[in-house]
Symmetry: C2
Subunit: 342 residues, 2 copies
């Protein structure tokens, strides 16, 4: 972490600097204790003004950054360990969508206070996921402020082989991994907008709180998928991004959308459609591929133990996604992706 | 920006996604308009899940990240254009301290509302500095939340030639660029803790609000300086980091510290010492170099039009910085660097 995680405090008084409370671990100590781990593929890790990395020959570095803010992306009082997981997971999901192999991350954390137990739990969640993907934490920053986290994640991808939103071709199939709408349904239940049985609820909560970035799938899709994006803002909105960048229309069939049983069983058809079509936070991969790849994608699904469902296709036309009902008529739906300021 | 800057909103309702207010520019539009600029040395910039970069042959990538939070790093109501500048400047200062050439940055922004005028001014400040250093903005995130900014900056440095905190050798001189304490004095005046004449105040305010990262100096110090750090947390604290990493003691002479006239003239000796020794936000470079480099450093100072002042030396001993008065006695002083949670 730069300056071992400290930073100038423009509203601090000169001389307030460094006044240590005896017996209380300092910011520096906490960072050293919880966020400094051995690195595996980094020239210089935490401890200097900058970290140093070097990509392997022939590799490009894929980079993404996301900020999670209390009250906007997670509820006040959210579990620290789950937040540590999710903060990294949403970033790894972007690497997955690019077909990049996770390598390095920086983490900036703003906290209202330095509760050691909270920091330890957050670090536990963060590093459990980082280890799983052999990711080095190479730098960061800690500061006092309203609870928020900013991760910048970096991965390697062979030059010219990254997955992009722009590569879809008319006639390509549209595929999605896993299930859609579970995270949104969990949130609706948490906010009291619908009631769901305890068993189903636990699985849905897990979808919302501990999303699994589809990193292995992203790597396997290099050379198979023509375009890809992760579903973080809702199916229709995210497919719309592929449409815009590929300058094509997409048609998907509502009846084909893979979904949790609890969503399928929902009496409230409007909520169900909202969750499926514009619910965020699923972090599945949405991708297009030529019809010639169907068998190979079927085999890949088997190998990964992860459902891959063909939900529609790409066509010449106005660059947006249309959802069709069982009779082939367009379904009216809300939204094209979450807009924080709308 | 990932997802064109949008992000999942775990506390949004399913279906709230994308409800556009007619006539009001969306988050997407604002980002497109103000934060998407042509890139110069980037494989893929803003617009996909990840950006893609590729370092030039023989180069390593130096990385640093800093978060600035309202109420902690800047006062409520701070000027947007100056904040845009400073958010990037504090990060470029870390690259300078590593002797790295600025190349790429990501920017995450949390804002309580999407005031177009505010965003335009922030972008103006950010990009004016980015252009000066030929830096590409390659990605980011925008979200609703308490005002804060997180920049991750990346630069290139020839393999093995970066400046580090750890390279100082006993007998090396200690140098600092520019002047110390000006930013802290400006802050003290702003908070009403001291009074300063209007002319001096304007120059000090500029130091505090629009720090100039010493990028050219950092590049020129490769091969000259044995260790380096930027002074963001205060002279004694930051020199202490060089001491710890180089396992040496540092002795500096109070009378040699370069400072603005307004600080030299200050009647309050305690405030003066606080500003000089532990005032943050100066963003000068503090470095060590062998005595054989004095002439060359003098010539470099001339060439850059930037004062370089020899303020002390490195010695075997307990790894910390001691400040000596005119009689060679240690000066008691507060603090070893700002601790946000102390």
């Amino acid at each position: 972490m730069s300056k071992d995680g400290s930073r100038p405090a423009a509203v601090s008084t000169p001389g307030s600097a460094g006044s240590q409370v005896p017996g209380k671990p300092s910011e520096f100590d906490l960072i050293r204790k919880y966020f400094t781990r051995p690195v595996r593929h980094t020239v210089e890790g935490i401890g200097d003004d900058c970290a140093l990395i070097e990509a392997r020959p022939g590799m490009q570095v894929a980079i993404s950054t996301d900020m999670l803010v209390e009250g906007t992306h997670f509820l006040t009082g959210a579990d620290a360990q789950l937040l540590g997981h999710k903060t990294l997971a949403v970033n790894l999901s972007d690497l997955a969508a690019a077909g990049a192999e996770p390598r390095w991350a920086t983490l900036a954390v703003a906290l209202p206070d330095a509760s050691e137990a909270w920091i330890a739990a957050f670090a536990r969640g963060f590093f459990a996921l980082a280890e799983r993907h052999s990711l080095d934490l190479i730098g960061g920053d800690t500061t006092r402020g309203p609870r928020s986290f900013c991760v910048t994640v970096m991965g390697e991808v062979p030059a010219g082989r990254s997955l992009k939103r722009s590569g879809a071709i008319a006639g390509d199939d549209v595929w999605v991994s896993g299930e859609l709408g579970g995270a949104a349904l969990a949130l609706a239940a948490r906010l009291g907008r619908t009631a769901i049985g305890a068993d189903a609820r636990a699985a849905l909560d897990h979808r919302l709180d501990a999303p699994q970035p589809r990193v292995e799938l992203g790597l396997a899709l290099r050379g198979l998928a023509s375009a890809a994006i992760d579903v973080s803002d809702g199916l229709v909105g995210d497919l719309g991004h592929i449409c815009e960048r590929s300058m094509l229309a997409a048609r998907i069939e509502y009846a084909l959308l893979p979904q949790p049983q609890a969503l399928l069983a929902l009496a409230d058809a409007q909520l169900r459609s909202d969750c499926l079509l514009s619910g965020g936070d699923d972090y599945e991969l949405l991708f297009t591929a030529p019809a010639t790849c169907r068998d190979e994608l079927g085999a890949l699904s088997e190998r990964l133990g992860l459902a891959l469902t063909r939900i529609g296709s790409m066509h010449a036309g106005e660059p947006r996604a249309t959802v069709l009902d069982a009779s082939g008529n367009p379904i009216a739906h809300r939204g094209r992706g979450y807009d924080h300021f709308a």
